[in-house]
């Protein structure tokens, strides 16, 4: 809710006429999107609508076939060191957590700062402990990922991404693999993050989160952005039939 009263910040992530095909399937069709600094954009839509692909394209875990993506005015590098550098500036949280299974929680969080940011071990650990405390995992730093619950693992994954001091955080269905009771603990961390002014792109099915934390809702279907609106407008008064149909299906329970 940070930006609602303020002027929107300067453009941070800009997608311009982005197209992508998986073989015959046109998964991203002429996508235009500008995410401003401090803004929280929530992307929702049915399975296979291209929303995860959109999210992953922003740090080039998926390549695009046409169009451009820029971060802070810089176009995405194609490969190599420059791409690695770009990715260090973009935090990513995955549906399946993807914590490094052979490393402790603390090592998971310090790996990037030490190997990529070249921080000292002591400095990286101090910051990691601070972040782990913030997400409520401070007392489990010496455990391995498999010893933690899904919700705890996902909170560690958020801490791991934050440890790189990213300009923007991408969340690719962060709660879809979680038990219902663990969803809240992860969403709470994300809402806090949003309040603190982090720029976020969140792909999710959590409509509650979209309502409370989003500055803008992007509705995607069949590779296209069908509707773009404030959460309030979108949920109470969707304009497109596709969105009405989708909301009718998921809100009727």
């Amino acid at each position: 809710m940070t930006m609602q009263e303020d002027e929107p910040g300067e453009p941070l992530v800009v997608l311009d006429k982005v197209d992508k095909w998986f073989g015959e399937l046109h998964v991203l069709q002429d996508i235009n999107l500008t995410v401003h600094r401090g803004e929280v954009v929530v992307v929702i839509g049915p399975s296979g609508s291209g929303k995860s692909t959109l999210c992953r394209a922003i740090n080039r875990l998926e390549t695009i076939d046409k169009g451009t993506i820029t971060l802070d005015g810089e176009p995405l590098p194609q490969e190599g060191k420059a791409l690695a550098k770009h990715r260090a500036e973009v935090g990513m949280v995955f549906q399946s957590f993807n914590l490094f299974a052979h490393k402790t929680i603390l090592e998971n969080v310090t790996l990037g700062p030490i190997k990529v940011r070249k921080k000292s071990k002591a400095e990286a650990e101090a910051r990691a402990n601070e972040l782990l405390d913030r997400v409520g995992i401070g007392h489990q730093a010496s455990k391995y990922p498999a010893q933690l619950s899904g919700g705890q693992q996902q909170r560690v994954a958020i801490a791991r991404a934050l440890a790189m001091d990213p300009k923007v955080m991408l969340f690719d269905e962060p709660t879809s693999a979680l038990d219902p009771e663990m969803i809240k603990e992860v969403l709470d961390v994300m809402v806090d993050l949003a309040k603190q002014g982090m720029t976020m792109v969140v792909v999710t099915h959590e409509m509650g989160f979209a309502r409370t934390a989003a500055d803008r809702v992007l509705f995607m279907a069949d590779g296209q952005v069908v509707e773009e609106n404030t959460p309030e407008q979108f949920f109470t008064n969707p304009t497109s039939d596709r969105a009405k149909d989708f909301l009718g299906k998921i809100l009727k329970h």
Partner: protein
């Protein structure tokens, strides 16, 4: 059993050759096999093809033919190992021994490559993606995240490959290295009535050697187990 005991020095020397063949070929095959696996999972198409071709040709050829190639056909084509002649006590490592080491290495490395590749494939793609997402370059992703986990997953098939190598060294006995199998054949020729007990004695020694190897592998597996 008294035949084995009476010839204990010769038997010990023979198993010494067996172990030397195994240890040298084992280490070399792991080095060459790792290199081949890197070719096969790497991003360069030509190298991937080269790695695949090597594995296809070598893995599909019987070991005896590979060894005969280096022992008999090789020298005629100019692949000679006459420069090797090392004597340590009673042990003499000559061109015949070297040809067998090369043959065993060439053969085993194809299997090492595939065991390692199985390990790499067993690491979920998300691990590499997460490593890339925090800004690690390709080399860093492999070194710090993928390979440490791949080696754990590759350990059981790798142990099988090395156990097979230990037993495959007996093929070198047919080609002029007086290792355990060749010594056993010599002893059975000279002591025909003791044949059965000789077979059993040599088989038992192999069982013990392989058991030591698999105990070692099990310990590594336990130590590297994740959490």
């Amino acid at each position: 059993m008294h035949v084995v005991w009476d010839n204990r020095e010769a038997v010990a020397l023979a198993f010494g050759y067996t172990l030397l063949l195994f240890l040298i070929s084992g280490v070399l095959s792991m080095v060459l096999g790792t290199f081949l696996a890197a070719l096969r999972v790497g991003p360069v198409a030509v190298l991937r093809l080269a790695g695949t071709a090597y594995v296809t040709v070598v893995r599909n050829t019987p070991l005896l033919i590979v060894l005969i190639f280096f022992r008999i056909a090789g020298p005629k084509m100019g692949i000679k190992f006459n420069f090797v002649d090392i004597t340590i006590g009673d042990v003499r490592l000559n061109n015949v021994f070297t040809a067998c080491v090369v043959g065993l290495t060439v053969y085993t490395s194809a299997f090492v490559c595939e065991a390692l590749r199985a390990g790499i494939n067993a690491v979920p793609l998300g691990q590499a993606e997460a490593a890339r997402a925090i800004g690690l370059p390709f080399g860093g992703v492999m070194r710090t995240v993928v390979l440490p986990q791949a080696i754990r997953a590759a350990l059981p098939p790798m142990a099988s490959v090395q156990i097979a190598l230990l037993k495959n060294t007996t093929v070198a006995g047919a080609l002029g290295v007086v290792e355990a199998f060749a010594r056993m054949r010599g002893l059975t020729n000279d002591n025909a009535p003791e044949r059965i007990s000789l077979f059993i004695a040599f088989a038992l020694i192999f069982v013990v050697l392989v058991e030591i190897l698999s105990l070692f592998a099990n310990r590594l597996e336990r130590r590297w187990r994740i959490a």
